[in-house]
């Protein structure tokens, strides 16, 4: 193997790929990245056996070949090189990296030792604008569970219903659903939330389309030069739609910034009670007030102006409330609920494509 690449390209590829190479696993070789020439391009790939990322970069290949090298060392080294052309040359499992000023050799391991990267031979293909998908992911990821005891809830449910594409997630205490775009396909994918965190990083600020290819077991996301393959979670996602209330006894509309502020202040007094704060909506004073009590420290009531339809109160976990407010993008937001023990909904005042449901705490 012998080729020339620019430091910028190589560094960018390594930084997106090397993250998932991990040194803690059972198989030592998974701490390496694979470098392999494909035609005139160089691919850099790594996997943790849940997810695999392959990054293609343009290069001047004069001799084909492949090798694996320790991911951390390679990344740190290339990152500290000055920008410009780097020459990579393989000599009997030793990777020589040469620039004008530096000349180093990294001992590699044959690419034959590396696990076979999965590929999809037959599958459904569709496209989605990267920006739209990224925004959707950012809004729902927060509600996914990380409790491995219930694997289904650690996934994001990407699916179509009535010619529309949705992403949903829930950890059984809260639920988020985003309507992405109209799509005439029949799709039902349960993708690990952790893989989607990785995808967000890979997408970055790109404005291209993401190509999605999937079969029963795995799904491939192609974003520009990068391919991210992840396994799908096996299982049936709960029928969450029936949990989203559509009619509300109480609705309060207020400025998001105000709501965030009073929640933050109240949460300081709610640490003892696992974040529990009580929201009171009052039509007479046209306000939303949040009250929290810490038996040792004291108590707090914070109030904000709001448009209110009826009187009511509900007790929520302030952390979930802050998480939810963080996913809303508009200046004014709506808080809607019915009884004390029925699900409570947060949404943007004007948009209808995103909904966040939080289950109340027993007060």
């Amino acid at each position: 193997m012998k080729l020339q690449v620019t430091q910028e390209n190589l560094n960018k590829a390594l930084s997106s790929v090397a993250r998932i190479a991990n040194t803690r696993g059972t198989l030592p070789i998974l701490a390496n990245v694979v470098l392999r020439t494909v035609g005139t391009r160089l691919t850099i790939a790594a996997t943790n056996l849940d997810i695999a990322i392959t990054h293609y970069i343009g290069s001047k290949v004069s001799e084909e070949g492949s090798i694996t090298v320790p991911a951390r060392l390679m990344q740190d080294f290339v990152n500290s090189l000055p920008s410009g052309v780097i020459e990579l040359k393989l000599d009997d499992y030793k990777l020589h990296i040469t620039t004008d000023q530096y000349n180093s050799v990294i001992n590699g391991v044959s690419a034959e030792e590396f696990p076979v990267m999965p590929a999809i031979s037959e599958g459904k293909t569709w496209n989605i604008p990267a920006k739209v998908f990224k925004k959707g992911l950012q809004q729902v990821l927060v509600a996914a569970s990380n409790d491995e005891a219930r694997p289904v809830l650690t996934g994001l449910y990407i699916h179509t219903s009535g010619d529309k594409l949705y992403i949903a997630s829930t950890d059984s205490y809260r639920l988020a659903e985003k309507e992405i775009m109209p799509l005439k396909e029949d799709i039902s994918l349960l993708v690990p939330a952790s893989s989607m965190q990785e995808l967000l990083r890979v997408v970055g600020d790109q404005e291209t389309d993401i190509e999605i290819i999937h079969d029963d077991q795995q799904v491939l996301f192609k974003v520009g030069e990068v391919e991210l393959m992840t396994r799908l979670i096996d299982g049936t996602y709960p029928d969450y739609k029936k949990l989203i209330p559509t009619e509300f006894a109480v609705t309060a509309t207020l400025k998001r910034a105000d709501f965030v502020n009073i929640t933050k202040v109240s949460s300081l007094f709610a640490k003892e009670s696992a974040g529990s704060v009580t929201i009171h909506v009052n039509p007479d004073t046209k306000s939303v007030s949040i009250r929290s009590v810490a038996s040792q420290l004291g108590e707090n009531t914070a109030q904000a102006e709001a448009e209110v339809t009826a009187e009511g109160s509900i007790t929520l976990n302030s952390r979930y409330l802050l998480d939810a407010l963080g996913t809303l993008n508009s200046d004014t937001v709506m808080l809607c609920f019915n009884g004390k023990l029925e699900p409570c909904v947060l949404k943007e005042a004007k948009a209808t494509d995103y909904i966040h449901v939080i289950m109340p705490l027993k007060s």
């Binding site: 076979v116 491995e148 005891a149 709960p238």
Partner: protein, 456 residues
């Protein structure tokens, strides 16, 4: 058949590939079907499927051939067996729940390659029917029966403790078996604390997305044997603490056995200790002579042999402290007789097991005082002397008690043996120890240990 074949194949492969490779690629695989030379192997993920297809296919085929199978084709299929059994829990249906006020923060994540069925570890031979009830264990027996009839409602947690070989394991397994007999779908988990530690270590080590915590927290009945081995393992104790809380809050039954009461297990975390004392702690006692006789007779009957009362009595006297040893002695006797076609009688028994440990008559007051002093690591002079420190008074009183119980000396004589003039001290001491030993397990242990020293 399929299982044993695949186990044999895996066993051989384990020797040829590195340990890391074996764990990553071959663990959790299984043989699904074997039909007309086409073998279908179930694998957990697509990565494993690829790897086995492209890199290990030849090795697998060769190993199959060595085991006498000529496969025309080996196929790999993604198959999640562990999951389908573990996660088909009814709770998946209740998607959203109203959280309790003190909602726990994200649970500590732990995982391992825990993939066993719920009834693993339970031995069906342990039942209530073949448990012999005597004075030392009737309370434990009654509590266990109450639990088996309505798990989780009474005596939760149940903590049984007592020395080795007195039937703790038998009883707690009997509870598990009884519950399963009533409801075969119940999730009864029986595990030794040492196994729990081991699985927890694996969970930490492999960071696998499997179900250590989930598995234990979804149990209906959790039975942990030999809890004392968890001592000193802080992280495991913490994990067990969370499991304990999760189960206890959900009104699931927890049964624990140990060789010591919770307060005597060294380096057991305070919060666990207090929780173990929460439900019911029962001290299981060494079975008395009559119970031992009953046990021998029952065991002999299951072997189809009726024993002479003399032989039974001899055996019951021969082994006094441990039912396991008692069974051992009986088995030894029965095997000996069966091989030679003899009927067990007292001569054979005596010659086989050595002379009976009938209490030697030559024990005297001096020996009792010496052994008691030795047990408490004080000097004979101190016991005989005038000192009235607490750590000397107790051994002195015990010595008086033993002089009375073992040698049946008169009170004035006891007083004289210990260099006292007043026999009322002796009366007081004997009465006090008799009363205390009825209430205090430590005192009983001390007395029986001193007896052991005396008659050893």
């Amino acid at each position: 058949m399929k299982d044993s074949l695949w186990q044999a194949v895996l066993g051989e492969i384990e020797l040829t590939v590195s340990r890391a490779s074996f764990i990553t690629w071959f663990k959790n695989t299984e043989l699904l079907t074997n039909k007309d030379g086409v073998l279908v192997v179930g694998v957990p993920t697509v990565f494993v499927k690829n790897q086995l297809e492209r890199k290990f296919n030849e090795l697998i085929v060769d190993t199959l051939k060595k085991n006498g199978i000529e496969p025309t084709k080996v196929e790999y299929k993604i198959h999640t067996k562990g999951k389908s059994t573990l996660h088909k829990r009814p709770r998946e249906e209740t998607v959203m729940v109203v959280a309790p006020q003190q909602q726990t923060e994200a649970k500590p994540k732990s995982s391992s390659s825990v993939r066993h069925s719920y009834r693993q570890g339970l031995n069906e031979k342990y039942t209530f029917e073949n448990f012999i009830v005597g004075s030392g264990n009737e309370l434990a027996y009654a509590a266990c029966q109450a639990i088996a009839s309505a798990p989780g409602t009474r005596y939760n947690p149940l903590f049984l403790y007592g020395g080795v070989g007195i039937g703790k394991t038998h009883l707690i397994q009997a509870v598990g078996n009884a519950i399963l007999a009533k409801d075969p779908k119940a999730h009864v988990v029986y595990i030794s604390s040492e196994q729990f530690v081991q699985e927890f270590l694996d969970a930490i080590r492999y960071k696998k997305n499997t179900d250590f915590a989930g598995f234990y927290r979804s149990a209906d009945v959790l039975i942990v044997d030999d809890m004392q081995f968890i001592a000193g393992k802080e992280k495991t104790q913490e994990e067990f603490f969370h499991t304990f809380n999760a189960l206890h809050q959900a009104n699931k039954q927890i049964i624990i056995s140990s060789d010591k009461p919770p307060k005597d297990i060294p380096t057991l975390e305070e919060r666990l200790r207090s929780r173990f004392n929460w439900g019911m702690s029962i001290d299981m006692q060494i079975p008395d002579f009559e119970t031992r006789c009953a046990i021998i007779q029952t065991k002999a009957t299951t072997h189809g042999i009726t024993l002479d009362p003399g032989v039974v009595e001899y055996l019951a006297n021969h082994v006094q402290t441990n039912i396991r040893e008692l069974e051992g002695a009986l088995n030894q006797l029965l095997a000996f007789c069966e091989m030679r076609g003899l009927q067990p009688d007292i001569q054979i028994t005596t010659s086989l097991l050595g002379s009976s440990k009938v209490r030697p008559k030559h024990i005297n007051a001096k020996q009792i005082i010496e052994k008691t002093a030795k047990h408490y690591a004080v000097s004979v002079e101190d016991i005989m002397g005038p000192k009235r420190d607490k750590d000397i008074v107790v051994p002195r009183q015990i010595a008086m008690f033993m002089l009375r119980s073992e040698l049946h000396l008169s009170f004035p004589k006891i007083a004289r043996e210990l260099g006292r003039k007043d026999h009322t001290t002796a009366i007081h001491s004997v009465e006090k120890i008799a009363k205390e030993s009825a209430l205090d397990a430590d005192m009983r242990t001390a007395i029986s240990e001193i007896k052991d020293r005396l008659y050893a």
